[in-house]
Symmetry: C2
Subunit: 146 residues, 2 copies
Amino acid sequence: MKLITRDTDYAVRALCYIAGHKKEKVCVSAIVKELKIPRPFLRKIFQALNKKGILKSYKGKGGGFELAQPPENIFLIDLIEVFQGPLKINECMFKNNVCPSIALCPLNKKITEIEKDVSAQLSGISIYSLVKKGGFIYGKKKNNKN
Amino acid sequence: MKLITRDTDYAVRALCYIAGHKKEKVCVSAIVKELKIPRPFLRKIFQALNKKGILKSYKGKGGGFELAQPPENIFLIDLIEVFQGPLKINECMFKNNVCPSIALCPLNKKITEIEKDVSAQLSGISIYSLVKKGGFIYGKKKNNKN
DNA sequence: TATAAATGATACCATATTAGTATCATTTTG
DNA sequence: CAAAATGATACTAATATGGTATCATTTATA
């Protein structure tokens, strides 16, 4: 059972990478080289993040991406919601007319509590909080010939 | 994003149903009728629960299933693990040799904490705790001709 | 102004997971 | 022996996941 899928995963890593290159635009090719993410997949991911206002893109030669928001304001929960839709632990247990009432259902109540907890915790993990501790510092570009 | 899949869902409901019929064996057909779960699917689910020692089966005419353990001892986490494998929120973020070390990775650390929280909460929800509150009392069999 | 290097848009494809179905064998009661 | 139950197992359909592929557009710069 996965809470985080591959695209969310890659997005987190790539955003951390960009966050480590503060003043620079970073192009997909550079990240692909460094993080070994399949290039077209990362392009798709970045286009989504761009549309959602998490990345800002620059087209044309010398273009690339930068964070559209400070890394303190980009949270894991946001990325999960971009790629996996809204956090919703259970959505099918109560649809039939079998359970007397979703409002009264004790399971639904408990699951909803867990959901809120998880959501709160995921909302506390920012890109900044991941980068500052050092685990995701990927080193600056060396001699990039592409 | 789902934490609970359909089979786990059905299993919970069916076990609650059985728990409401304490002294009786309950056959698949009866549950199917009451809960509107697809019959062959529920059969598959019950065979899995039987193998895991959560249900006890009686073959032959007049046979059926009963709980192999008291409902106080059957927890949501157990059912999730039967049908969805072990709770593991993230398993792919750290496999490559990109991240310096999984032990140092701040994201892994935080995700692991969330994982433990969720697991603890799911371990606190027993079939009994769902049945006793009344939300899952499905009423006894009426005149069952199958 | 042509070309190279970047992203934008979009459609497609392969694999895995989820949600079942179908069938035949076996057991048990009557 | 027949009916009614589960056991075992294989198959199938739909959806989600993890990508590819292609062409269009923009921009810097030689």
